[in-house]
């Protein structure tokens, strides 16, 4: 008779999750401790990658079946502590009274579902990283951000510049995509690589919103942040169709003719943003049909350096388009047209 020692068994995170929800008190405690430890490994890996730039080391794989988000929303009670506050809603729990909590929960889920259904990507790191949303961060805090350590922070807004930041599905998609980028090309957050980092977040943020709403490239207004802007920045933070025209302070250039040397990463991101819009709208249909996969493949291309220029990225979108659809395809032609429109050399 063989003796089976439970310490030698590998429990998949999905089973741990079920134990955490439905198990006995002791089982719940053990499962939660294990999931926390699991999470710490992923954070340590991500943190190391963020410190040095460049691609993270090859991840350790876990026995996990993808397709299900692991969301936890925390209430920061208007404090600015960086550590998670009170659990406000866990995965599988129904809606609560706090609208911001529900919006964050739904937005994280929509982003997870988009990446899983379109790219078979299991969460931000491709291995089921738990999605942690921290709402009511700070007092009148007009911002939302990804902290490079596995957490997405949401402010309630100041009512002037921004309002409740959980209300923007594209914003949530934008922030979580910073995590995806961190785990892929890990684009350095300054100069052209930083503007690319920002643009990629807008590109996938808008796709998450369009996908959720069932909007085609023609239906969409291609505005980023329209659901979270206050009167000062109305009607939106950025326009992917007409960079520079989203609000009265919008200083984004629409092509390399207007590139701002030393400019903020949110300024020059208008250039690759418009390139994506041109590619997607040229092809028609939905942005996630071809343009999105081409961009995703370029982001995940191992040859894309952390210090990539717009041109470095553009070249890889063309390579990926030709690889997937053919050198003479309408997709490859659209990619050339997109980058030509914004005057980024291929």
């Amino acid at each position: 008779m063989t003796h089976r020692c439970s310490r030698h068994c590998i429990l998949p995170p999905g089973l741990l999750h079920k134990l955490a929800e439905n198990g006995s008190e002791e089982a719940r405690k053990t499962a939660l401790e294990t999931l926390t430890l699991d999470h710490r490994f992923r954070l340590a890996r991500a943190e190391a990658a963020a410190r040095t730039g460049g691609r993270p080391m090859q991840p350790v794989t876990f026995a996990r079946e993808g397709g299900r988000a692991q969301r936890t929303i925390y209430d920061q009670h208007n404090e600015k502590a960086q550590a998670p506050g009170t659990v406000a809603r866990s995965e599988g729990q129904g809606p609560v009274e706090d609208a911001a909590v529900n919006q964050a929960y739904d937005g994280l889920g929509a982003t997870y579902d988009f990446y899983w259904s379109r790219f078979q990507r299991d969460s931000i790191d491709g291995q089921g990283l738990p999605l942690l949303g921290l709402v009511h961060f700070g007092r009148n805090y007009g911002n939302a951000f990804w902290d490079n350590a596995g957490h997405m922070f949401f402010g309630d807004g100041d009512g002037r510049v921004l309002t409740q930041t959980t209300a923007g599905t594209d914003v949530i998609g934008h922030e979580l995509t910073h995590g995806v980028t961190q785990h892929e090309a890990n684009l350095v957050y300054s100069g052209q690589s930083g503007a690319l980092n920002e643009s990629i977040s807008d590109v996938f943020g808008i796709q998450v919103k369009q996908y959720l709403k069932g909007e085609s490239v023609q239906d969409s207004n291609w505005l980023i942040g329209e659901d979270i802007v206050g009167p000062e920045l109305s009607p939106a933070l950025r326009s992917m169709v007409e960079p520079g025209k989203a609000n009265k302070y919008d200083d984004q250039p629409a092509s390399m003719d207007g590139y701002v040397g030393g400019g903020d990463v949110h300024t020059n991101s208008g250039i690759p943003n418009r390139a994506f819009y041109v590619v997607a709208s040229t092809l028609g249909g939905n942005s996630w049909d071809a343009a999105g996969p081409i961009w995703y493949a370029a982001l995940c291309d191992p040859s894309l350096p952390a210090t990539a220029t717009f041109s470095d990225f553009a070249k890889r979108t063309l390579i990926q388009a030709e690889r997937a659809y053919g050198a003479q395809s309408s997709e490859a032609s659209a990619v050339r047209k997109g980058w030509d429109d914004v005057k980024v050399p291929l």
């Binding site: 951000f145 510049v161 910073h178 942040g225 920045l233 933070l237 200083d251």
Partner: protein, 91 residues
């Protein structure tokens, strides 16, 4: 500046309007930021504060990530940000 909105906000604070001891701590905290290098790379969409000492023209502006604001400056900067005006063309 920075944040997901990518706008530049500007506010002025006169330390003479603070209680003397508080004002002195604030000024010392600002001087302590001079010459400091960032302790870690900025996270995406972080706020970054640029503090310019107008009454000391010989001093260089200091730049600090919101996470690295010293405690003496945190509340003050955040309160100033609440009433800050957006800088830009304002078409």
């Amino acid at each position: 500046m920075g944040g997901i909105a990518g706008v530049r906000l500007r506010a002025e604070l006169d330390t003479a309007e603070l209680p003397p001891a508080h004002g002195a701590r604030v000024e010392e905290a600002v001087r302590g930021l001079s010459g400091r290098s960032p302790t870690r790379p900025p996270h995406p969409d972080a706020f970054r504060y640029e503090i310019d000492q107008i009454d000391d023209p010989g001093s260089a502006p200091v730049s600090v990530d919101e996470r690295d604001l010293p405690p003496e400056l945190k509340d003050l900067v955040e309160r100033a940000a609440e009433s800050a005006e957006i800088e830009g063309p304002g078409r």
